[in-house]
Symmetry: C2
Subunit: 218 residues, 2 copies
C-alpha cells in the first residue's frame, strides 16, 4: 500500500473509522493530515477508488468507514511494527485447552498434508489436533503470527473436495515441540489447532479447561 494511503487510512481508523461510519469532513481530514481541504478531498476519492474506505455522502457531512480491505492493509502494517518492537522471534499465547470440533483434526490427517508436514517440520503428526482457546487479551498476538511467514503446506483437491493451503508455525508447549496450523485464508477464530508428533493430551495429561502457554516461533 502506498504510504500516503496508509497514513490517511490510519488517521481515519484512529477516529473510529474501523468500527463504524465516522463523520469526517475533508477539511478536518486535511487538518489532521496537515494538508489542504482540496488535497484531503482528493485523498478521500483515491481511498474510495482503492476500495480502502466506503463513504456515506450525506447532505451536510460525509461519513467514512474503513473497508475490510483497508482493515487488512492496516493490520499488515501493524504486524510489521510488532515485528520491529516485540523483538519477537517468539510469541507466547496463553489459553485454555478445549474440545476440538474435529474438523481440523480430520483435515490435517489427509496423507497429502501429512507427507508435506513430515518434509517441512520433520515429524509425522499424531492423528488429530489439540485445540486451544486463546485468551482475549492475546488475540492481537495471533495477528503477529499470521503476519509472519511460517511454513506453507500446499492444498490439493481429492475426491472432488478441495483442501486449502495451510500455514504451520513451529511451537512449543511445556518444552514439547509441536506446530500450530491454520488455514492460509482464515476467517477470524479464537481457537488455534496444534499438531504434534505425540498425543499431546496424553503426553502432557491435558484436560479440557486446563491453562497452557503456547510458545510460537515466528
Amino acid at each position: 500500500m502506498d504510504s500516503k494511503f496508509a497514513f490517511a487510512l490510519r488517521k481515519i481508523a484512529l477516529l473510529g473509522g474501523l468500527e463504524d461510519y465516522v463523520a469526517l469532513s475533508s477539511r478536518e481530514l486535511g487538518d489532521t493530515l496537515e494538508m489542504s481541504q482540496q488535497s484531503a478531498s482528493k485523498r478521500i476519492l483515491e481511498l474510495l477508488d482503492e476500495n480502502l474506505i466506503t463513504r456515506d455522502l450525506g447532505a451536510r457531512r460525509q461519513r467514512i468507514k474503513v473497508t475490510s480491505k483497508g482493515r487488512d492493509e492496516l493490520k499488515q502494517e501493524y504486524s510489521e511494527y510488532r515485528k520491529i518492537f516485540e523483538l519477537a522471534d517468539q510469541v507466547t499465547l496463553h489459553g485454555t485447552v478445549t474440545e476440538g470440533m474435529g474438523e481440523g483434526g480430520y483435515y490435517i490427517c489427509q496423507p497429502r498434508y501429512i507427507e508435506q508436514i513430515e518434509a517441512l517440520m520433520g515429524f509425522v503428526p499424531y492423528e488429530g489436533t489439540l485445540n486451544v482457546l486463546v485468551d482475549k487479551e492475546d488475540l492481537p498476538k495471533l495477528d503477529v503470527v499470521k503476519g509472519s511467514t511460517g511454513h506453507r503446506i500446499n492444498g490439493f483437491v481429492q475426491d472432488g473436495r478441495s483442501f486449502g493451503n495451510v500455514i504451520a508455525h513451529t511451537a512449543k508447549i511445556r518444552n514439547v515441540e509441536c506446530a500450530i496450523v491454520m488455514p492460509e485464508r482464515s476467517h477470524y477464530s479464537n481457537v488455534i489447532e496444534i499438531i504434534c508428533q505425540y498425543h499431546l493430551r496424553r503426553t502432557l495429561t491435558l484436560d479440557n479447561g486446563e491453562r497452557i502457554d503456547v510458545k510460537i516461533k515466528i
Copy 2:
C-alpha cells in the same frame, strides 16, 4: 513525520536497523521501497538530514542504523496502531507492589503539583506514591500509555530546583480510582508510580511483592 520517511524508516528497522548498523545499498533499499536506486539514495540523504538514521559510509557498502529520534518516531506510529487494534480505551498492566524510591512521592507532594492534580483529576492525592513493578511482558503496553494523551501537570521552578512536567492517566486498582503519574520526558522505567486520594497500601492492604492489576484509561 512525513509518511514517506516513516515508510523507509520502517523498512530499515525491519532489516534490523534498530539494533545495529545494517549493510544496505541504495539499490536494495530501492527494491524494498519499490523505487529506483537514485530515489532510494535521495531518501537516505533525506533521512540523514532529518536525523532519523546515521550512516557508516564504507568503501564498498554503506551501513545504516536508526537513530534514537528515528526509533521514537517509529514507536509513536506503533503506538497509534496499538490504539487502533487494541481497542484499548483501557490497558491493564500486571505487576508487583514494590518499595518506592521515595523520589516520586517527594516530587508529587509539592503544593504546585497538588493544586493542579486537584483541578485536573478531582482529588487531592494522599502523600506519597504506590510503586508497582510492571511485568516484563506488559512493558510494551506502557508505550501505549505513554503514546496517549493523559493530563499534563505543568512543571515549575522553586528554590532554584526545577520540577518538570508530569503526565497523569486516570486508573483503577481493584475498583479504587487512582492515577498513574510519570515524567513527561521519562527515560525507560519498569516501575510506575500511582497516586490516590486514599492511602492505597492501607486501603487495599497491599504488601510488597503483592500482585496487582492496574487498569489505565487511555
